[in-house]
């Protein structure tokens, strides 16, 4: 059974100096904002961060980068109109960037969770992002060999958890959550609501509880705006 953390700060205590941290989310959808803010507060530094982007505006991951607590970022799309803190750190040579095509990023995380040693992917073959990598032609098609991407800690966001740690996501906020949960040694989840065990239909569980180590409840503004409070959830333990 996962631990229930009373606060986001308590939830992220598994992150240490030098940790590799997988951060869920694509845009704002599925981004564990409060956990990232707590990480900011926690002071841990020298981090390797895996995320689709490299922080935006003056919040969350962007502030971690601003404070030079991220030594390396592994992502698919760092450059955005408001990624100024990354841009500055990068141009100053104060952050290392490993650029990975988005599908390879997802598959490398999946491989880490699934115990696959390495895999041949067609994505990126013949491009600058495959330079120096092993390639192979298989049945007439060209592939690049890619390796798993593991995390010490995953910080993700889901809609509901039960006390067993089973997770259900919401719409396109699902994105990297399930593969990151399986790819990290410790998985920390912020959820809108914690439900009694048995309230989530076993057929609809997306992330089984064995992938989840710590849960913290952070009712999200978007949930409140939606006016969603399922009957089940009202009696949540």
């Amino acid at each position: 059974m996962p631990a229930i953390a009373e606060s986001a700060v308590e939830a992220v205590s598994a992150v240490n100096d030098g940790s590799t941290v997988l951060m869920g989310g694509f845009g704002n959808a599925g981004q564990p904002m409060e956990l990232i803010d707590a990480l900011l507060e926690s002071g841990s530094t020298d981090l390797t961060v895996v995320n689709n982007n490299a922080g935006q505006g003056d919040a969350g991951l962007a502030l971690l980068i601003k404070e030079r607590r991220v030594k390396k970022i592994i992502c698919s799309f760092p450059r955005q109109s408001d990624s100024w803190h990354f841009d500055t750190a990068y141009r100053a040579g104060e952050i290392e960037l490993e650029l990975v095509p988005q599908g390879n990023l997802a598959e490398r995380l999946r491989a880490a969770g699934a115990g696959i040693g390495a895999f041949y992917t067609p994505t990126g073959y013949g491009t600058a992002l495959a330079e120096g990598k092993e390639t192979r032609q298989i049945h007439g098609r060209n592939y690049v060999l890619e390796y798993p991407l593991r995390g010490d800690v995953a910080l993700i966001k889901a809609l509901y958890a039960d006390h067993e740690g089973n997770l259900v996501y919401r719409k396109t906020a699902r994105n990297f959550g399930p593969v990151m949960a399986a790819a990290a040694a410790q998985t920390v989840v912020q959820v809108d609501q914690l439900l009694p065990t048995g309230e989530i239909d076993p057929e609809t569980v997306i992330t089984p509880g064995l992938y989840v180590d710590t849960i913290t409840v952070v009712p999200s503004a978007s949930a409140a705006a939606r006016g969603e409070a399922p009957a089940d959830a009202a009696q949540a333990a």
Partner: protein, 224 residues
């Protein structure tokens, strides 16, 4: 292999961006599963008809994406790959990122429509980086999209502002994917990358605003 006809369809005017989107939409086979890239390709959705029953994929984890959301429809948990709020159609489904890119990489989408900086005569695509030495690199799903669908179509202007052809013998920009482009939709004409007598190259299917001869004269690529 496309049948090579001698006289492409033609119009006197170059195609507007709207006309181009309409033509791409028209060319999508009914019942197809399609991914529309960020930017100009996104506008193709506006011209798909309900009768076509085209299902849209967005690589951040959804099939059955509906039009852009407005006003009360906006839901921060329901966005497309361009991070624009969208809607959900009946029969939609959600899946995680690895499943979504597996769907693409596994060749289950019929068509992917992308923008481009440059396409080579044999269908190599450049659309992720200008190669400027001081630029911050960013790739997103471009390389996955380029090689993932059964067909990759490009929408672009045929020439840059200074008149340089974007359909070139070889890429000078960094590669996104090799030999992946099957069709190029441009303001001046529509090209299918095809094989003809053992040579792979662009076949001009429709010409707009310029004649076939004018297009051929302005390109360094031999049209099939």
């Amino acid at each position: 292999m496309t049948e090579i006809t001698s006289a492409p369809a033609a119009s006197a005017e170059r195609l507007s961006r709207q006309d181009l989107a309409r033509i791409v939409a028209r060319d999508i086979t009914p019942g197809s599963f399609v991914n529309l890239g960020i930017g100009q390709p996104t506008t193709v959705a506006d011209y798909l008809t309900p009768e076509q029953r085209v299902t849209l994929h967005t690589e951040n984890g959804m099939l059955g994406m509906g039009p852009q959301a407005h006003g009360d429809q906006i839901d921060q948990d329901l966005i497309n790959a361009g991070k624009v709020p969208v809607t959900e159609l009946p029969g939609a489904s959600y899946f995680h990122h690895a499943d979504s890119f597996a769907m693409m990489r596994g060749g289950h989408l019929d068509v992917c429509v992308l923008g481009a900086f440059q396409v080579s005569a044999t269908g190599d695509l450049a659309n992720w980086s200008t190669g400027a030495p001081d630029a911050i690199p960013a790739v997103g799903g471009a390389m996955d999209l380029a090689i993932g669908a059964k067909e990759t179509w490009v929408m672009m202007s045929l020439f840059t502002k200074d008149g340089t052809p974007k359909l070139a013998p070889e890429l000078s920009y960094p590669v996104t994917g090799l030999g992946c482009v099957t069709r190029i939709y441009t303001d001046c004409g529509i090209f299918h990358i095809t094989e003809h007598h053992g040579t792979r190259g662009p076949h001009l299917v429709e010409a707009h605003g310029l004649s076939r001869e004018e297009i051929q004269n302005r390109l360094e690529v031999d049209l099939l």
